[in-house]
């Protein structure tokens, strides 16, 4: 309890300290693309790479790409039956349960955490946009 109204100097000091705390918090936060990349490497990196086909097809330019269209990759018949392109919404469905979207496909993953799916998709978009696509 103040016996007197707080001085202007005290208010300025408090405001400055809060601003510094806010900025420090932001600086410590990991940006979503970096977080998505880490998740991608952990959850997808066993079979996929950004630049080259491996057990699975490469992912550079995947957002907006026609499904099952990477040259020189041997897709399953199940995936070839899908039409359209990989949109963020389609990728979200795919990552939610690959066998639900394309039963019999070669990929077996069901990522339940919607936030993690979104971070991975954000990362995939970052390597698919202008300058990201091959």
């Amino acid at each position: 309890m103040f016996s007197h109204p707080p001085s202007h100097a005290w208010i300025m000091l408090l405001a400055t300290s809060l601003a510094q705390l806010f900025c420090a918090g932001n600086a410590a936060a990991v940006d979503p693309i970096t977080e998505g990349r880490t998740l991608y490497e952990n959850k997808c990196g066993g079979c996929h790479s950004v630049e080259t086909n491996r057990v699975g097809p490469h992912h550079r330019g995947v957002v907006g790409r026609r499904i099952a269209s990477v040259p020189d990759y041997d897709y399953s018949p199940a995936l070839k039956q899908l039409s359209g392109v990989w949109t963020p919404a389609r990728l979200d469905l795919w990552l939610s349960g690959t066998q639900k979207l394309a039963p019999g496909s070669k990929m077996y993953l069901a990522l339940d955490d919607a936030d993690q799916r979104q971070l991975i998709i954000d990362y995939l978009q970052s390597i698919s946009g202008p300058g990201g696509s091959k």
């Binding site: 952990n42 990196g45 066993g46 790479s49 080259t52 491996r54 070669k106 077996y108 069901a110």
Partner: protein, 189 residues
């Protein structure tokens, strides 16, 4: 090939000691018996085939890196131990597919693996260790991801066992590279 002094020497020493500890571990790798093979459901064969493709890739990576001349004796010794683990995994998985009436997926050529894993860009032992660390982490996670797709609990146990092997590989390599263990839990999956 000239390696950096200091941290590299420490890494070599670490890997050499780790190799002594893990030598012979391949002999105790879980090998599925006839009971498990007989229980393999048709739907599980596809999951096993994907895992088998992953093992082929790991085997090729260690074989090609082992012949590159980039690895010091201690690191090479450990790489051969890990190679043996992956070969044992491959044999278990291929047997399951064959016993279920399927044709186990074949490995690609070395040239394909060199291109796909960009092995030509590896210039130092550190590069090899970094790549192997990345592949082992991805493999450990991939097995965990695949477990939920299996219908046979004994197969799930086999996949969990293989994932644990990959996690040991990752831990050994990650420590050798001097990379801190991630502070948050659930490192794989």
């Amino acid at each position: 090939m000239e390696f950096r002094r200091g941290p590299t020497l420490a890494r070599r020493s670490f890997l050499a000691h780790a190799g002594l500890v893990t030598l012979g571990a391949g002999a105790s790798t879980l090998v599925p018996g006839r009971a498990l093979a007989a229980a393999t459901q048709p739907g599980d064969v596809g999951v096993i085939q994907t895992a088998l493709a992953l093992e082929h890739e790991g085997i090729a990576a260690y074989q090609i890196a082992g012949k590159s001349g980039l690895l010091s004796p201690g690191t090479l010794k450990l790489a051969l131990v890990f190679l043996g683990h992956h070969q044992a995994h491959r044999d278990s998985l291929a047997k399951l597919v064959a016993d279920a009436g399927g044709k186990p997926v074949e490995p690609k050529t070395d040239a394909q693996y060199i291109e796909e894993l960009q092995l030509g860009s590896l210039k130092t032992e550190g590069d090899v260790v970094a790549l192997a660390t990345k592949l082992e982490r991805g493999a450990a996670s991939a097995y965990i991801g695949q477990i939920a797709a299996l219908s046979e609990p004994k197969l799930a146990r086999l996949f969990a066992s293989i994932s644990a092997d990959e996690a040991v590989h990752w831990t050994t390599l990650n420590n050798a590279a001097g990379t801190p263990i991630p502070t948050s839990a659930y490192l794989f999956g």
